[in-house]
């Protein structure tokens, strides 16, 4: 449904998403929500005449709390499957993006790392409370002391500076992000040839959300995947086809 649908009696659904998670969900220069996740939800909105979706931005944990307390009925914020969340929420049926994480380093200062095993004895930066930090921790749990994990809440500038200055040897990030860094700061950071981690992200619903809505969204997303719309969006926002099978 389009904006005018609001007048035609369509149910309004609040969708939780992010404020500053480029390229998935962020406020653009005009203060409008934009990004891949937002575009996917908008595409679904187009298909569903009975509903209009409005966005409610917050940070990652707050969006979960918003969903839990029913301040939003649905969330699109790169949520991966995890047992804890499965207990509290309802996941959408289909994943809409794959999350491929690579090891990032500065070839001028050292080497390009392919896997966690290559990082033995190195310093690796990860932002506190992110997927990347979680995956590094998981690896470290199985291989204690394999590398030194440096936590922090760096800005983009800091991460790039930390890697290029050798303050850390590497960091973890998806490819598009590295491209962005290189473009914004004239650097040439490199990634390994294979991702060290991948998973899919799903839409998330409150347990009390109307099953009819959930069903409608699921169908719409399947259709959009099938007709290639999602792939287009992926190419537009993520510079590549990151649509999971």
């Amino acid at each position: 449904a389009t904006e005018s649908a609001a007048d035609s009696g369509a149910t309004e659904i609040k969708v939780g998403t992010g404020n500053e998670a480029l390229p998935y969900a962020y406020l653009d220069e005009n203060g409008k929500y934009d990004g891949y996740d937002v575009a996917v939800v908008k595409a679904i909105d187009e298909k569903l005449t009975d509903y209009t979706f409005t966005f409610e931005g917050a940070d990652f944990p707050t969006t979960l709390s918003n969903l839990e307390s029913n301040k939003v009925q649905m969330a699109a914020f790169e949520y991966e499957v995890n047992a804890d969340r499965q207990e509290k929420f309802v996941y959408g049926d289909a994943g809409y993006v794959v999350w491929d994480t690579y090891i990032v380093s500065d070839p001028d200062a050292g080497t390009v790392y392919q896997s966690f095993a290559d990082l033995a004895g190195k310093k690796v930066y990860a932002t506190t409370a992110t997927n990347q930090a979680a995956m590094a921790e998981t690896y470290l749990k199985e291989n204690p002391g394999a590398f030194e994990l440096v936590y922090g809440e760096y800005n983009n500038e800091q991460i790039v500076q930390a890697v290029t200055s050798g303050a850390v040897d590497a960091t973890l990030a998806p490819k598009y992000q590295v491209d962005n860094w290189n473009r914004s700061f004239n650097e040439n950071l490199a990634v390994g040839s294979e991702p060290v981690h991948n998973s899919d992200a799903y839409l998330l619903f409150n347990k009390e959300t109307d099953p009819a809505l959930i069903a409608a969204v699921n169908t719409a997303l399947e259709e959009l995947k099938a007709d290639g719309t999602i792939k287009e969006l992926s190419e537009k926002y993520l510079d590549g086809d990151y649509v999971p099978e």
């Binding site: 990652f60 944990p61 506190t128 409370a129 930090a133 500038e157 800091q158 500076q161």
Partner: protein, 236 residues
Amino acid sequence: MSFKFEVMFQSLKVASQYVGTTLFMAITALVIGVILGLGIALVRLYRIKGLSQFFQAVVTLLKGIPMVLIILALYLIASKQFDVWAKSMHWSLRFKDFNMVWIAVAALSLMATINSSEIFRGAFAAVKPGQFDAAKSIGLTNLQTIRRMLLPQAIPISLPMFSNLLIGLVKASSLASMVSVVDVFAAAKITAQQNYRFLEAYVAVAVIYWGISLVIEKIVQILEERMSRKLRRAIL
């Protein structure tokens, strides 16, 4: 909302190991801030020419610069320049091995200095002019006046404001995570990253911070009672 106490206690256990780091940053900054802030407030009280206006401007300026920017700038400058300086000074220390806590402490000290100087300035205004008369009439030097009369009378007044400041510093020290220092807050968040149970982590942080605050409050209260009892009926 569902709330898992086990998760919270787990966070609490991990995060409380970092109380030392948090306190170290807050208290070091407070000590530095109080010393420098006192200096600035005295310069302004005695209207030392030039310096007084200079500090007034500096304080106004620094007040307006966000802490985040200060930390960011310190980090970026240090990471770019430190190795160059270190080499030219023939130090063996490199930025890589540099303890980031000091960047946080530097930024927090700045905050503490600005706050302290203004707190002292207010407290000085509360000391009655008659007391300065008394000091002058017996020929105390300025330093003696400050030590024997001004500070003993101003400090009891300013204590509640300093407890505000110290508690504020404890909380602000969580900004240290911007430069890779793991403090109470960061530690709690790390425990939450596997299961995304942030609420429990935040509550754990709140419990620890509140505990620290209660101790600060208690100490300040005892000091306050002790120091200000004799001044309560002060006249003129």
